[in-house]
Amino acid sequence: MPASVVDITDREPRKIPFGVRLYLPEIVRGMAVTLGHFLKNIVHMSRLPTILYPEQKRNYSERFRGKHILKSREDGTLKCVACYMCAQACPADCIEIVAGEHPKIAYEKYPVVFNIDMLRCVMCGFCVDACPKDAIWMSRNYELSFFGRHESVFDITALAEKPNQGVKDGYGYRPYYPGDGTIPPADASVALVVPGDGGRKELREQGRLHEPEAVASRTRNA
């Protein structure tokens, strides 16, 4: 069903109508609109679109991308194994990691330094997507102001989740959520998905595969 082009020029009169020229009827009409909103807001005070910000806060979704959290294991050590994937995935180049050898053999590596420069960070969540160890999440905390540039780099102490303390404003963007079909890494019982090849074979058989063109494959002089 193709779209149709519709000329809307003549839906409005070319000349200014008498009622409009008089001002008064239109003023009354306009007042009715604004007064309607005013009364509606008075009656439904709880549904006001504005909030009193520092006291009240907007309720953001569980996917909100706020300040980062470094997740911990049950024994309090960081889950991060300093693989540099998040630093590599970061489009703003704001993550700095220095890896060290962990005294506990099973953990192998750990981050000695893990800094996020909050002045560079664009809050895109690529680090969360890139982490293969479920070690970095984001919270719903968006109040990240500081007084000087020297405070803008958040280190492990600022980022690591303190055990039993909870996270300010709650968890935000993360790899899995309770109850929506995504699975935490602790659950190894769920069957794995077969690697996808993009269904190229089927598409090609149906003639629906757009093969990418080679550069200047077909050239002819005019």
Partner: protein, 575 residues
């Protein structure tokens, strides 16, 4: 006539070749068949060819879309180091065409085509600024995006991406009209007014210098580039997916449309298809983004003209849409929701419900704004017959989007070349013949209602479950569960992060209907994990270029209203 390569051309390219070869028998121009019919030529033949392309009854490429340069320094085997790549559109025949002009490698030079397409003016300045191409015959060839203290040409491949230059006070540009007015100050009663770069009425950092006679504008010049961060150079240093957060910041009022436009381009190069559900999410959120874009445009515009109430009504719609988008991806303004091959994650379970509640809550606000504005005497006096752009002017200046449709040309990408599901929906392209500020207001209001209608139809066919991303692990990240427990999946994951997507060698221009016009991405790949060149066709660049001509003869307060209805977004203008 010699054949340089075997194989038949596509019908569209063949038509171009058949028409071109008798007119230009010298053999300097050839037709190549890429994603678009592509004419390859050299600078000497270009002005004549350009005139032919515009005037020939079977060509009629009347709309100048884009001009971007390419530096082939790291792409050996090309005819010359520099290319100027033009993208043209024919409104009467609904066809796109690319013209490549190969420039001299040592001293790149190209004749100006301003007399053929006036829209080329600023694009040619950008070509000079970014690549150091000398555009002969250009009346005002100076830097446009970079400041006057800048040394070198940023998009050349031998220019280091991290190089910066300070702009000192001596480097600040003073337009010729301001200097002249100062000399004549004693015996000629005009005043030079400087609007911006930081001015509440400019909605972004841009500067307009106008010479006033009384309250009338006699001359004006606009200066842009204050928000320039060379998005195109930065793309070259990032992987294909890392470019997505950068695209958010182009037109930040409708950042999701930018995501979609860019991802579509790369997807077409890869030859992959997004599943139906993913396409529909993209359609629905793109249309919501369009509504937000128009809300910002109309709302802010009306604030400039003194009607504050409408701003609150329209911004309430926008806030509610932002909440929906935030529930999908976690951010309100700079969404980064699209990924090459689909979306970053599936929509929340209550997505359809929330969309439907928005469909119910937005129309009353639009109706209220219409009640306050449409038949308002003050608005009629301020908007009607002000900032008039005729159909011919709009085409010559390279307008697209609502501004072109308000001047009477029914070109909408969603109709002209339906992508995703737009051909399945029943909707209208509103067109107005007047071309003034009031027409642009009406067209935008009508478009918002059409967008709502598209969303309503998309929700009807929206599948309850299914993938939103293509099932190709070279392109999209494998499911997290696999990454945690399976080595092969982890390797896919690792390659995606470390190396980027293997996009095959080639080039492509893909275009969608953005918030304020045709948003195109011209992307070149050499087969690596990051773009070789990523050129964006910014819809408000030609709009802003025309602004200094539209406002001549109007009052300074009307210029502010006109700037608002053109919808200039500095993030996209300056890139």
């Amino acid at each position: 006539m010699t054949e340089t390569a075997i194989g038949a051309l596509s019908p569209a390219s063949e038509r171009v070749r058949e028409r071109l070869s008798p007119a230009f028998p010298d053999g300097r121009s050839s037709v190549a068949d890429l994603d678009l019919p592509t004419i390859e030529t050299d600078p000497a033949a270009w002005p004549g060819l350009a005139r032919f392309l515009r005037d020939d009854p079977e060509m009629r490429f009347d709309l100048f879309l884009d001009l971007g340069g390419v530096d082939n320094l790291r792409r050996p085997g090309k005819r010359s180091r520099f290319e100027a790549v033009f993208h043209l559109y024919s409104t009467s025949r609904n066809e796109h065409l690319r013209a490549k002009v190969y420039l001299d490698s040592e001293k790149p030079e190209i004749p100006s085509v301003i007399d053929v397409w006036p829209a080329a003016n600023w694009f040619e300045r950008e070509l000079f600024d970014m690549f150091g191409v000398n555009v002969t015959g250009h009346p005002n060839l100076r830097r446009i995006l970079c400041h006057q203290g800048f040394v070198g040409h940023a998009l050349r491949k031998d220019y280091p991406a991290g190089q910066r230059w300070m702009c000192t006070e001596e480097d600040l540009y003073v337009p010729e009209l301001a200097r002249r007015a100062a000399e004549e100050a004693d015996h000629y009663e005009t005043v030079v007014v400087n609007l911006g770069p930081s001015h509440p009425a400019t909605h972004g950092t841009l500067r307009i210098v106008a010479r006033l006679d009384g309250e009338k504008i006699v001359e004006a010049e606009s200066e842009i580039g204050y928000l320039h961060r060379c998005f195109e150079k930065m793309s070259e240093t990032h992987t294909w997916n890392q470019v997505i957060p950068y695209t958010d910041r182009l037109n930040y009022c409708s950042s999701f449309i930018n995501n979609v436009a860019y991802c579509r381009t790369v997807e077409r190069m890869l030859g992959i298809e997004v599943p139906e559900r993913g396409q529909l999410v993209r359609t629905i959120l793109s249309e919501f983004s369009r509504i937000m874009d128009h809300c910002v445009c109309i709302g802010a515009n009306l604030v400039d003209t003194g009607a504050l109430t409408n701003f609150w009504y329209l911004f309430q719609c926008r806030e509610e849409i932002y909440s929906l988008i935030e529930a999908c991806c976690g951010a309100r303004l700079t969404v980064s929701y699209g990924r090459v091959g689909g979306l970053s994650r599936d929509v929340p379970p209550d997505f359809v419900e929330r969309c439907r509640s928005l469909l119910r809550s937005i129309p009353p606000f639009l109706a209220d704004v219409d009640k306050l504005i449409k038949r308002n005497r003050i608005v009629w006096d301020r908007f009607r017959g002000v900032g008039v752009v005729t159909k011919e002017q709009a085409l010559a200046w390279g307008f697209t989007g609502p501004c072109l449709r308000a001047s009477g040309v029914g070109y909408d990408v969603r109709k002209a070349r339906p992508y995703d599901f737009y051909d399945r929906f029943d909707w209208e392209v509103p067109v107005h013949r007047d071309g003034d500020n009031y027409a642009r207001y009406l067209v935008r209001m009508a478009e918002m209602r059409q967008s709502l209608s598209i969303i309503r139809q998309a929700l009807e066919i929206f599948p309850a479950s299914g993938p939103v991303s293509a099932n190709d692990w070279h392109v999209v990240l494998p499911p997290k569960n696999n990454v945690y427990h399976d080595m092969e999946s982890l390797i896919y994951h690792f390659k995606w992060v470390m190396e980027g997507i293997p996009v095959p060698e080639g080039e492509r221009y893909e275009w969608v209907e953005g918030g304020n016009g045709e948003l195109g991405f011209y992307v070149l790949s050499t087969g690596g994990g990051s773009p070789y060149r990523n050129r964006v066709r910014p819809p408000c660049f030609p709009l802003m270029a025309a602004f200094e001509k539209i406002i001549i003869g109007s009052r300074i307060s009307d210029a502010v209203a006109t700037l608002g209805t053109l919808n200039i977004i500095a993030g996209e203008l300056d890139r």
